[in-house]
Symmetry: C2
Subunit: 140 residues, 2 copies
Amino acid sequence: MIIISRKSQGIAAERELLHKFWNTGKFIAMRAPGSGAIKYPVPDLLVGNHLRRFAIECKTTKSQRQYLRSEQINDLKTFSDTFGAEPWVAVRFPDKNWYFLSLEDLDKTAGNNFVISLESAKRKGLFFEEIINSDPLSSS
Amino acid sequence: MIIISRKSQGIAAERELLHKFWNTGKFIAMRAPGSGAIKYPVPDLLVGNHLRRFAIECKTTKSQRQYLRSEQINDLKTFSDTFGAEPWVAVRFPDKNWYFLSLEDLDKTAGNNFVISLESAKRKGLFFEEIINSDPLSSS
């Protein structure tokens, strides 16, 4: 039996998305280094070209809902505002699809954190193919 | 005796520069992860705000000249063109200063690689304080 930690799963998911963006041939993508250094509020992935830039927090879950701490979302916002990027949350649910959610698509929890359900992701999220082809002017 | 590998020295230098940019409060900075993943042509550091973005190759040397392979420079160019960033080479010489060189400031070697001497860096390079305050419109 191979035990794969949640952290490794997260890194594997980030890398999967990194490869997908590079494979389009239209975007560069950069992962933030994991542990070791002093932590700065950087997103899991920074993706972009000279037209658009995405700061992406990546999550993968085996359940029907993905929670996000409010600090993570605040950091993502601050980074995106400073750098000039669009903040996105990418979640891979058990259906194996990646859903791209804008921050307004997330629901607040009672404890002021955030949550996105698979059902809600299906309704509001963009697929990978949609985000790489979407029009920057109509995206917000 | 502590042996510090050239690789660790390189990472320490990248981190030093990373901290310097964050400490300005005006830029975000992101290091590319070291080993482990498939290698994509990403710079050592990506630094920026909504006005300017720098793709930076960092080097530190104990000698009077720093060599750079042509592939490194080509990768830096390709990344910068695709992402929309200014390509820079940052070298820390034994005088401990960081010099920021644009690609035109590098000299070609006989083998079609690149080199920058301390003397030439002093003449052509920008100091850290200059690069963070320089005007994007007059920088090229």
